[in-house]
């Protein structure tokens, strides 16, 4: 039942989540406390009342609280690169986590400080206390349970945010649950990662409550936590600190082997790379796979020298990205194709399609060219001279004897759902989505691309490292018989190795 779980991966992910949460939590605590204090003292009737400073601080805090976290990560990429030196990994997630959550905590601190009895502040002033004394000896101690409670909420929210940080390959349990669990359909991995996230959340919550109960002297009953609870809290704090330190140390661990770092999407690229890891290890090369959830960052990271290579895209997409961003990157080898296929719940053969049959496809222009070329190949339509699978558009159709009705305004990832709802006579689905939806491209499709397609998936490197020996070794391993055997066995024709 838990057969798909790789415990070593799970433990590393747990460590990464803990590491990101604790480091970001400490930074949010310091920044948020400072910012919250500034908000409070510059407010009306505050110790340093200042209308303008308060207005500026309030605007900044509200602004950062309003930006969705996922967008903040992207916006902060250049800043992250400058400060942390990398846009990948757990450390790269820290700036976004800290900048995203500090304003939230600052607000909670401000609310906590507002709860301090005005009479007590007056008493301190009457004693001749300086503002500094009032802040450190009165305001902060008197609002301790409230700001500790706020810190608990902040840390718990941080655990959730670390999951989103998986977008930039930060790792952690949320990322593992998404990439290994959801994308590969390993429900036990999703379940275990979620369970561990809950363990973390409950641990932080319980720790927070224990500390608050032991510092809060406001009520007469003063139910102090029992000794055993205090002991447990100390042990738990120690364990969490240890986990953080160990992960922190591993951030700086350098492999003795030569490393080749490759960015990839989870299925099938990362799986194929995992399969050839031993081949490279035999040659003294440590293959490090960084999994991505999107298609923009892998090229950006490659161009920024965060990666040695990436393996997730096809030629036309690469050409478009180079045109848009001016990256100095290039394809070094075709590895496999994930063939585009046409599926139907109504017909078993392309030739039995009736007149005026409806054909549904994705709204991506490159997908459309590819499908038109495939239909032309099958003889259903004719395309103008000189156009091919990378350039064909609907206006290039010179004859359409069955008068096929094309519908092409749907997101690619929704195509499997459209198929299940039987929404057209013929539905073209990208293989990765077809696999996720439980379709077998080899047996279920009416028409399927072959390895000659320009849409073969490629290994891409920068111009400056294309000729390095380790890149050559990577390419050789990916085109080896071991890789081909793995692809055939694993994907049963849904993924075809390119010869």
């Amino acid at each position: 039942m838990l057969g798909n779980i790789q415990w070593d991966k799970m433990i590393v992910a747990f460590g990464e989540t803990l590491y990101m949460t604790v480091l970001a939590g400490v930074a949010c605590f310091i920044l948020g406390l400072g910012l919250g204090l500034l908000l409070y003292v510059t407010d009306r009737d505050g110790l340093y009342e200042n209308k303008w400073a308060n207005a500026v601080l309030t605007t900044v805090v509200n602004l950062f609280r309003a930006i969705p976290f996922i967008i903040l990560i992207i916006l902060l990429l250049p800043f992250t690169k400058t400060v942390v030196g990398t846009i990948l990994g757990a450390n790269a997630a820290l700036p976004a986590l800290i900048i995203g959550m500090s304003p939230f905590y600052a607000r909670l601190v401000q609310v906590a400080l507002r709860e301090v009895d005005a009479g007590v502040i007056e008493a301190a002033k009457a004693m001749g206390a300086s503002n500094w004394d009032i802040i450190w000896k009165v305001l902060i101690p008197e609002s301790k349970p409230a700001w500790l409670g706020g810190l608990t909420s902040t840390v718990v929210s941080l655990v959730g945010f670390t999951a989103m940080a998986g977008v930039i390959g930060a790792g952690g349990l949320g990322n593992l649950a998404y990439l290994d669990g959801f994308q590969r359909g390993f429900e036990d991995v999703t379940f275990m990662a979620t369970a561990l996230i809950l363990v973390l959340v409950f641990s932080f919550q319980w720790l927070g409550e224990t500390v608050i109960a032991s510092v809060d002297k406001r009520t007469q009953s003063q139910k102090q936590p029992q000794k055993i609870r205090k002991g447990l809290a100390i042990v738990l704090t120690g364990a969490l600190a240890l986990g953080t330190v160990v992960t922190f140390a591993s951030q700086f661990k350098t492999s003795e082997l030569e490393t080749v770092t490759v960015g990839a999407t989870a299925v099938p690229h990362a799986e194929i790379l995992t399969a050839i890891k031993p081949l490279l290890a035999e040659q003294g090369i440590d293959l490090k796979i960084v999994e991505f959830q999107d298609y923009v960052l892998p090229n950006k990271a490659l161009a920024a020298k965060e990666l040695d290579a990436n393996y997730f895209q096809h030629e036309p997409y690469l050409a478009q990205q180079i045109a848009e961003h001016g990256y100095d990157i290039e394809s070094v080898a075709k590895i496999h194709i994930e063939p585009m296929g046409g599926y139907s719940q109504r017909y078993d053969d392309l030739n039995t399609l009736p007149q005026n049959a409806t054909v549904l496809m994705s709204n991506a222009a490159s997908d459309q060219s590819r499908i038109l070329a495939l239909l032309a190949n099958a003889g259903l339509i004719t395309l103008a001279e000189g156009v091919d699978a990378t350039s064909a558009t609907f206006t290039d159709i010179t004859s359409n004897p069955k008068n096929l009705q094309f519908k092409y305004d749907i997101e690619a990832k929704l195509l499997p759902t459209a198929y299940q709802n039987d929404e057209a006579d013929l539905i073209f689905i990208n293989t990765n989505y077809a696999l996720e939806a439980g379709l077998n491209p080899k047996t279920d499709s009416l028409v399927l691309e072959d390895g000659d397609s320009p849409y073969a998936n490629i290994v891409v490197t920068r111009a400056d490292n294309a000729t390095e020996a380790k890149i050559q070794a990577l390419v050789d391993a990916l085109r080896s018989d071991t890789a081909k055997q793995f692809i055939d066995d694993k994907y049963q024709g849904a993924v075809l190795a390119v010869d």
């Binding site: 008493a123 301190a124 009457a126 001749g128 008197e142 406001r218 003063q222």
Partner: protein, 341 residues
């Protein structure tokens, strides 16, 4: 010691100007206990807070120990405040600190060396009678104990002046007695000038040497407590004195009597310690053709001695006699006030 010169304090509130304190002139002597009485909103709290600069005047001057409070720089003002202790109606203790730590706060603020703090705290705890409760938190104390901590904290830096803001208003009568006794004691033993505000004449009677009565931001009457009780001039002062010396159904009884004996007159006689023992009424009855019926009487103790008050119904055949009787009684140092209906 403390001098208010033409002090006025105005607030701007929602585009309206509110005058909290108006043209106040006061002089508080060193070593005295000075009470300021008034109903809420009379401006007494603002007046008190101008002594330690928690409030600043809109015009006029407050001179405390020779220094003009308003012109002090922030640092000198803080140094001055350390020599002016303050206690509060709601005690204003820090819940996060124990009794000893609350008292120590005042010493920490004054940058007292650490080793001296502990010694001083022990002294103060003994002074206010809180031995054994050093490690308790405020939430574990009674109201009276909390005010004792407040007093110890206020006295920590050996102040010359102690300001008390309705210090007993949140306490029950017995605890009030004990706290007032403690304050009197401190005044006598340490010679600290005490300025307090209250809305209860009872507190003035028990604690003050001198009193100022405030109404609508003005000080309407000032004097030593005995004089004020014997001979209140202003309507508001009479009300306060009345509250402190009469029964609640007194007014009703007077009304009834006035109806019953329309030819009689109601007199209120006020006298102090020396006159209490003289048989003034008896000799008046012998000398004049007049009858006295005692309606109500009381003796109250103030710091300076007892004061008595007697309300009598005076009946006589001849109205001329009344004037003579009045003159005779007043010649004995007893104030006579005709109660009008």
């Amino acid at each position: 010691m403390i001098r208010f010169e033409q002090v006025t304090k105005q607030y701007e509130k929602e585009a309206q100007t509110i005058t909290a304190v108006r043209d106040v002139n006061l002089h508080i002597e060193q070593g005295e206990i000075f009470g300021i009485i008034g109903y809420s909103g009379a401006g007494k709290s603002t007046l008190l807070r101008m002594i330690n600069g928690l409030e600043l005047p809109s015009s006029g001057k407050i001179i405390v120990e020779g220094a003009d409070v308003q012109t002090l720089a922030a640092k000198s003002l803080r140094a001055q405040r350390q020599k002016i202790g303050m206690i509060f109606q709601h005690f204003n203790l820090l819940w996060s600190r124990t009794v000893a730590q609350n008292i120590a706060l005042a010493l920490e603020v004054a940058k007292t060396p650490k080793d001296q703090i502990a010694t001083r705290v022990t002294e103060l705890i003994q002074l206010v009678g809180l031995q054994g409760r050093e490690e308790a938190y405020p939430s574990q104390l009674s109201g009276g104990q909390k005010q004792r901590v407040g007093i110890a904290r206020a006295l920590a830096n050996n102040p010359h002046i102690l300001l008390a803001d309705e210090a007993t208003s949140a306490l029950d009568p017995e605890t009030t007695e004990a706290i007032l006794a403690l304050l009197s004691d401190i005044n006598q033993k340490l010679g600290i000038t005490i300025v307090f505000i209250t809305h209860e004449m009872e507190v003035v009677k028990k604690l003050a040497h001198r009193v100022a009565v405030m109404e609508a931001g003005r000080v309407v009457e000032t004097g030593d407590v005995l004089t004020i009780f014997q001979n209140p001039q202003q309507a508001i002062t009479k009300r306060f004195v009345g509250e402190a010396t009469t029964e609640t159904d007194y007014e009703l009884t007077l009304d009834e009597l006035a109806h019953k004996y329309p030819q009689g007159q109601l007199w209120t006689l006020r006298f102090s310690q020396g006159e209490v023992e003289k048989p003034i009424l008896a000799s008046a009855m012998k000398l004049f053709n007049v009858d006295f019926s005692i309606i109500q009487g009381s003796i109250s103790k103030t710091k300076e001695g007892a004061i008595g008050q007697l309300t009598v119904l005076v009946q006589t055949e001849n109205l001329h006699d009344l004037t003579a009787v009045k003159t005779y009684i007043e010649a004995q140092d007893v104030k006579v006030q005709e109660v009008t209906q």
